[in-house]
Symmetry: C2
Subunit: 412 residues, 2 copies
């Protein structure tokens, strides 16, 4: 089954707004075995809209339109689709009632203009909107194709899709079953990963394997098909196990967890606490660790020692070390890890110092030079890295390396 | 002049990758007065590609294709466009030479497979690629339409577009001139901004005004047209001045600067230094401040006092305050700002404490309750906020409020 997604709204053609709903929908469709063959982004013009839907219906069995269901003159999706499929628009009293109740609950009277949202093309089903006024619409064409119209705001689209559209789509989806698995890797270059695992996955056409590389992280996506769930899952798990064997502990996640979530899980399992001392990352490491709800159970906090003065004053890096070896050195990063651990009373102390650029590089220590260290009660482990990319990428990779130090320590 | 953008690559139809190049291109096209009327995302299938280009050429005068110019079998943009426009592909020796030099510079021999990238449709111009091997292509159709093909990776696409395509496009762009201006506002709700400025901008059709709201920030985009640059600019500046009058110091930027950049500029102008004490934001405030290159001139660092223990131990918040008033209180945030200033020797100390959720809220202090404070040598200014949204949004808004405290202090 082939699908197309049409994202509607003139603002999506500007440099300032981007459709993200289609990523969410593609994820669900992929798992149903429905292939997205094209995405189209169009403005609010009714003729453009009609043309886009007509073209998509000529190519795909399922066309999902997102947005343009609001109450204003700019919202033309309903009209365009009704005209294209030659259906009259009929006001549904249940929709009016639902909308009036929503307004009443907020202590307001429904404006006249919202009545447009109660217009439903003849023969179509409407889908309730738990977080807004615009109902969704589900239409079947005489050729057996499906048009699904959803509201644009993600907090409205997502619950509506999951509660009212997903099960219906499943009934139309292909009968073979899909299973997917994602392995996430850090600490290895893309070429290294490819070299190790290409001989393993290349012979397989089912599951399909895709590598997605970003700075400091490589994702391996497996997607298998089978006669039933067990069959599809078995295929995926079999290949995943072989790939994991080849990559060893470079694989940090076998699902959707981020590196900071994995580190958090390990810290909780071990009942350990963590504190950080960050220089060039300026707080990014702490920010990532605390982006995980409940991180206060294991993360104590730390010091952002951006200036050399704070490295000395708050974390006791000796002036002689800073002078002779520099703020970006093995000696400094080691002192930072040891001392943040000691001063906070954490079980583990992790530290980062480096040159994120664009200024500050030297022939000896070019931009991208980063030291990370991890201290426990007995020893300090230190690593030197040379990251490529701009300031943002270097800082991101520095935090990946620091988190991975903690992960590898706790795995043992 | 109307344009369409076609982003090419099967990975762009998965849930994992998104086209972002089109935002960059839309920005340039908009400034040239070229209107983007549709964006299409297609996979690597040659027939799909041909159809997409044919349809776009029927609607627009300029069609920009992004991606699919690499050396592998999956890269079919060149073939598809040549077939569609009935042009032979001819190998260009200059392109071969350029590619060979690129490989030689990296100490490598060019693989045979890359020769495909030297194929240029008859009558087309090729555009050099300073950061990769795939040249861009510029074709004019007999109907006077333009097809521009650019490589997918942003570090290749952007310099190529700016060096070799922009000037040529300008020669084709409409003769009237555009001017744009962005005002950025923080500290006011969208409805408040709208209420104050709608009566001002509504009567104008030129410039056009668009409001874009995100958590903790509202952007007002003005776009004016005129017979020459001076004329267009005058229209935009006239309306911008009226809007600024109505919003006063809630406007923090009259260009593209972020709030952290504006705060950095003020700190440099005043020769002042800043240190931070962050609780619920976990490092995000420091991360934002240090995302600005050169921030070491004014940002000393700070303490991420995520646990109450560190609030006591590293920032001297009295135990009695934590017990009686709580970690999320005016008393705590005030002590944090005072003490981070004192302990780091910074001119200004800023602090944040709050409940980012999803857990930890109480009837008294619901999720989203955030205190921010700013201390100088003489006094502490404290604010209490109640932010809406999820953990990420609450944390973001908390840093906006803290940065804005600093900005307003330094403006005086």
């Amino acid at each position: 089954m082939k699908a197309e997604i049409i994202a509607i709204g003139s603002e999506l053609l500007t440099p300032f707004r981007q459709d993200t709903n289609s990523l969410y929908l593609s994820d669900h469709l992929e798992r149903l075995g429905i292939r997205v063959i094209r995405k189209t982004i169009v403005g609010d013009d009714k003729d453009d809209l009609k043309a886009a839907f007509a073209e998509a219906l000529a190519r795909a069995e399922l066309v999902i339109g997102i947005g343009g269901l609001g109450p204003t003159e700019d919202d033309r999706t309903r009209d365009a689709v009704a005209e294209l499929l030659k259906r009259k628009l009929v006001r549904h009293d249940e929709v009016v009632k639902m909308m009036e109740e929503r307004f009443r609950a907020r202590g307001k009277k429904m404006p006249e203009v919202n009545l447009r949202q109660a217009l439903v093309p003849e023969g179509a089903d409407w889908l309730p909107n738990a977080n807004g006024t615009a109902p969704g619409l589900w239409l079947a064409t005489p050729e057996g194709k499906i048009v699904l119209l959803l509201p644009g705001p993600p907090p409205e689209l997502k619950p509506m899709f999951e509660e009212y559209a997903l099960a219906r789509l499943r009934a139309h989806a292909p009968k073979h079953v899909f299973a997917t698995k994602v392995l996430k890797v850090t600490g290895l270059a893309e070429s290294e990963v490819e070299q190790r695992i290409a001989p393993i996955y290349r012979p397989y056409t089912n599951p399909e394997t895709t590598l997605l590389a970003s700075p400091g992280q490589i994702e391996i996506h497996l997607r298998g098909t089978g006669g039933d769930t067990g069959d599809a899952l078995r295929r995926v798990e079999e290949l995943a196990a072989k790939i994991e064997d080849a990559l060893g502990d470079a694989v940090f996640s076998r699902g959707l967890e981020t590196l900071e979530q994995v580190v958090g899980l390990y810290l909780m399992m071990r009942g350990a606490t963590l504190a950080v001392a960050e220089s060039c990352t300026g707080g990014l490491l702490g920010e990532r660790l605390t982006s995980v709800p409940g991180s206060s159970k294991y993360f104590l906090g730390g010091v952002v020692c951006y200036s050399d003065r704070l490295k000395q004053k708050m974390l006791g890096v000796p002036e002689t070390v800073l002078k002779r070896k520099g703020a970006v050195s093995a000696e400094t990063v080691e002192a930072l890890a040891k001392n943040i651990r000691r001063r906070t009373g954490a079980v583990l102390g992790v530290s980062i110092t480096g040159i994120a650029g664009p200024e500050g590089g030297t022939p000896d220590k070019p931009v991208g030079t980063v030291y990370v260290a991890l201290a426990d009660a007995h020893r300090v482990k230190t690593e030197k890295h040379r990251f490529l990319g701009d300031r943002e990428r270097i800082r991101w990779q520095a935090t990946q390396a620091a988190l991975d130090l903690v992960r590898r320590k706790l795995m043992k």
